[in-house]
Symmetry: C2
């Protein structure tokens, strides 16, 4: 018991921080959307800019995608077929998966969320069905996203589970040397910033046949040709030793999640995924989300996407030029401004919100105790004026320009 989780203990530790957050008015803000990452708090009409929105390209309020969502429901006349998707599905579900498959050169299947994609994927891979019917040693990066970590107990019912230090390629290589089949579970881009050592991991894949499972929720759309993300950009073309799960609800600007099961035409894997586990049950992206997925996939093929990526990069550069953080210059839109104490972090966030900028205070269990800070996410649809004002407010409210390691 408590090999992988201890919910009561985690809750005891984090509850105090959440209570502080709640008391500072930084928990459960109920809002109306104003577009372009701006919100109006319903309780008092206070308007603010969201500096922690994961809609990195601003697609969540893109008029074409929003309209396609509304049209998607009306076109099918229902939110779903009211039968498991593997038995009866709407044309829009097939169209969405075909669009994604074609866009990224993969065999894509959609899920109700990225977390559900993790739930579908990890036990299946652990079962050995994707690795010549030999259950692989399942190696998790210590910092892999919660939705991956939360599957460890289920995965351990199918295969041996090991957790290694963050980005520890050496430890992973040692495991590859001593085990016939190894699967490594990591984020491509981590939700708290930074990325996996993708080239080194691909080297291990080439040398040892390492199976790679990446959560690319914070990388799809934002990075790479047609928004294919950090992993596929490095790979060029997905191979049959790599599975990518992602959100379609973050950078992609739609709803739900997806699994890239392998190269185009991986029908056997598709069947295996559909027939065994959560995809059998009655959960899928509703027709509004599907309408948005299709519209967003089409937009990913246009020059508008490349323009938005460039605008995002310019905003990241502008922010980096004004606020020095550990991650400055890494080319990613996620920045962590470390403050240290949980209370100071929450107070800073509350003061920023008063001045019109929301930034998420982050603490245990998302990161270690006593290392609290603000998680910022730059967007393409922030103006230079907004970024400059926010950076100046950060300085004015007395955050040290240089962060401790």
């Amino acid at each position: 018991m408590h090999t992988y989780m201890n919910i009561a203990k985690s809750a005891r530790i984090s509850d105090d921080f959440w209570n502080v957050t709640d008391q500072a008015g930084m928990f459960d803000l109920v809002v109306a959307g104003l577009g372009d990452g701006r919100h109006r708090r319903l309780s008092d009409g206070h308007e603010f800019v969201n500096m922690s929105s994961y809609s990195y390209l601003g697609l969540d309020t893109h008029p074409q995608i929003v309209q396609a969502a509304a049209d998607g429901v009306l076109a099918e006349g229902s939110l779903n077929t009211s039968t498991s998707r593997m038995r009866i599905r709407f044309g829009s579900l097939r169209a969405a998966e075909d669009e994604l498959s074609d866009l990224f050169g993969v065999t894509a299947v959609t899920t109700a969320s990225c977390a559900v994609a993790s739930w579908v994927t990890l036990p299946l891979i652990a079962s050995g069905l994707f690795t010549e019917n030999i259950a692989p040693l399942m190696v998790f990066d210590k910092n892999a996203h919660f939705c991956l970590n939360a599957m460890k107990a289920s995965v351990a019912d199918e295969a041996e589970v090991v957790t290694i230090a963050h980005n520890d390629v050496e430890a992973l290589e040692e495991l590859c040397r001593t085990h016939p089949r190894v699967a490594y579970v990591a984020d491509g881009v981590y939700s708290t910033g930074g990325r996996a050592p993708i080239p080194e991991l691909l080297r291990l894949q080439e040398r040892y046949g390492l199976f790679l499972v990446f959560d690319e929720a914070h990388s799809i759309s934002t990075l790479g040709t047609n928004g294919r993300g950090a992993v596929l950009e490095e790979l060029g073309q997905i191979n049959d030793r790599t599975v990518v799960i992602t959100s379609l609800n973050k950078g992609f600007g739609a709803s739900g999640g997806a699994i890239f099961l392998g190269p185009t035409g991986s029908q056997a894997r598709y069947d295996t995924a559909i027939r065994n586990g959560p995809l059998m049950w009655s959960q899928r992206i509703n027709t509004a989300g599907l309408g948005a997925v299709i519209a967003s996939a089409q937009l990913h093929r246009t020059d508008e996407l490349a323009q938005l990526q460039r605008r995002l990069q310019a905003n990241v550069d502008l922010f980096d030029s004004m606020v020095q953080t550990d991650l400055s210059g890494d080319g990613l839109p996620i920045r962590f401004v470390q403050v240290g104490s949980e209370t100071a972090t929450v107070n800073l966030a509350a003061a920023l919100l008063d001045r019109g900028y929301y930034a998420s205070p982050i603490f245990f269990p998302i990161i270690g105790r006593g290392r609290a800070g603000l998680r910022l996410m730059l967007r393409a649809n922030m103006s230079a004026a907004q970024i400059e004002e926010f950076a100046n407010l950060l300085k004015e409210l007395n955050v040290p320009a240089e962060q401790p390691a």
Copy 2:
């Protein structure tokens, strides 16, 4: 290893059946919706009535609900807030949860699906946070839905797990006698038909403080005052030893799932659920689904709902008068027509589809091997003519009127 699941083994056994289903054209029908549970197959334009739709009241194509879904996206101008729901949520998410809470006299929280509701609920309950900080013995009914069973490994990392025979009140009482805290995990109404012995379970609750967790996905909307389902109808009012999870995507006619955490105003439980686990991550019902949830909740208060329930009951009675099954007369809309051999079942389903009626062939692992058959789900929006024609086709295609036990 393989204490709870063995995916590779299950896949080996079920793959043959799925292949037969696929070859018979009964797998992955891609369709357009025609309303009222009717579909048009896109490949050839063949039209059919879905006799296995879990939209028991026909709300999935209710014009007001469908329109409210489309309007829900346009009103917020986005599918989601692009930040975790516990930090920033749209007014429509609060409104949907308030409507559900008020409608059913509970503290409701919504989830991306009923399966996600299970993922949120079971480890939390196992942790002891809902039972005076003492981890309860977690007792699963053998027939509990897959999305509950799939959590066993995670639950076992927090508490001891036991599985008992279906509806075995005696075994459960023995466990209550010998353990200080026991939680029982079951479906209120089972997806393959039949229901939990709710009055007997409530008796154990009263006597021993038994904690009850019910999946009411197949019972909410369909049964009870304002569609509150079998469990709440029996309880009258939810108590703090009962948690209900449900789908909002089945009878309810919207999207996603919900957890009824306890009586109105169970703020501590709500906070615990929101702060610890999958609800922290970025998955929620999108604004289209929320628009539909709100519209459907409002419809649940009207006489229209009671009328639809009566119409459903009349259709169930009509079907029962024509086709005798093990479940005839149980007042539920789920009927299982046992055939026996998997191949005969699939062939029967294919012949029915040719004649304009879709019925899901069901086999291992959903039910035991060699006990295959058709799962039928009656709906309020079936005409008497459809039910009569279908029942006659069942007879014509040589299904014995009396089913073996």
